[in-house]
């Protein structure tokens, strides 16, 4: 079963999608886009404020609809610095860039987001950061440009 030169056919999948956020996340992004407000959702049974918001609590399976204001300041709980890239890249910034998980004040869970305006060696777990909002906001997670040191 020899095959001298392998026969390769180059091809592609190029398929568009539109994934709805749903009513709850749409409300989160309207507040972010129109009022630069970051909202969490509270589970009264587990007395936890979740961000990102979700309409069901995984632990008690209750329906969640109680919005809570969450601060735009928080603490970095972990981070990484991305050095690799790939093509075609969807990376939101040029490498190397940093992203991390930020525990916002008054929230019980962390939000994954980008870290900016600091050199990589300055980032540390536990540092205080605050959200930087884009001027032109479209209702998605990148309406927050990144989190920078307070």
């Amino acid at each position: 079963m020899t095959s001298n030169t392998p026969y390769i056919v180059e091809g592609r999948l190029f398929v568009p999608y539109f994934n709805y956020y749903g009513a709850l996340a749409s409300e989160f992004y309207r507040q972010l886009r129109d009022h630069k407000k970051i909202m969490g959702i509270k589970c009264p049974t587990c007395s936890k404020v979740y961000i990102p918001p979700r309409s069901t609590c995984a632990k008690c399976f209750g329906n969640l609809n109680e919005w809570v204001d969450v601060s735009s300041k928080g603490t970095v709980t972990t981070y990484t610095i991305i050095h690799y890239t790939y093509s075609p890249s969807n990376q939101p910034m040029d490498v190397p860039y940093a992203c991390g998980i930020i525990q916002l004040d008054r929230a019980d869970t962390g939000l994954c987001h980008l870290l900016g305006e600091m050199s990589p060696d300055k980032i540390s777990v536990g540092m205080r950061v605050e959200a930087v909002f884009k001027d032109q906001r479209q209702g998605n997670i990148l309406d927050i440009k990144y989190f920078r040191p307070v």
Binding site: M1, T2, S3, P6, Y7, I8, V9, E10, G11, R12, L13, F14, V15, P16, Y17, F18, N19, Y20, Y21, G22, A23, A25, S26, Y29, R30, P88, G139, N140
Partner: protein, 164 residues
């Protein structure tokens, strides 16, 4: 009905994105050889399952019915490229091409051809006027010129009606 009406007024957001994924698909020793023969020598082949003797087009490593390995080239049967039209399909509604994301009309009518050697094959038909097509019409393969052939099934331009 208020829930439905409320659905209209509220603004529903979402993420619009494109899955843009490149592939280097391997054709393998069976399909790869078939495409090489078509491109370089303008020849069409089919392999035969040693157990149930049915012709396999495209040639493939295993006969799905007998679950046994099938022979590689050159133990294949060369096809004449002649056959008769079983049925055809005029695709009216343009379809999205999943490798470009564009909605593209079909350039030709699709024909399902029973090749003289006893295996069917699907390809374009030159004849665009359906009134001229009838079941059993004799057809034959038309290849693109050698320099235009790229080692794809579309190296075959289409099948044309054989004037009796």
């Amino acid at each position: 009905m208020s829930k439905a009406k409320e659905k209209e007024t509220q603004e529903y957001l979402g993420l619009s994105h494109v899955l843009n994924l490149s592939f280097n698909w391997s054709a393998g020793p069976y399909l790869g050889k078939w495409l090489t023969e078509l491109r370089d020598n303008g020849k069409l082949w089919a392999s035969r399952c040693p157990k149930c003797q049915r012709l396999l087009l495209p040639p493939r490593i295993v006969c799905g019915i007998c679950h046994i390995r099938t022979p590689e080239w050159p133990d294949w049967l060369q096809l004449s490229g002649k056959g008769k039209l079983l049925e055809w399909e005029k695709v009216v509604a343009p379809q999205m091409n999943p490798s470009t994301g564009k909605i593209e009309p079909e350039p030709y009518i699709h024909g399902n051809i029973l090749l003289d050697e006893g295996v069917t094959f699907q390809h374009y038909l030159e004849e665009q006027d359906e009134t001229k097509l009838k079941e059993g019409t004799r057809v034959e393969v038309v290849l693109k010129p050698r320099e235009e052939r790229q080692g794809l099934v579309t190296d075959i331009l289409y099948f044309r009606i054989v004037e009796e």
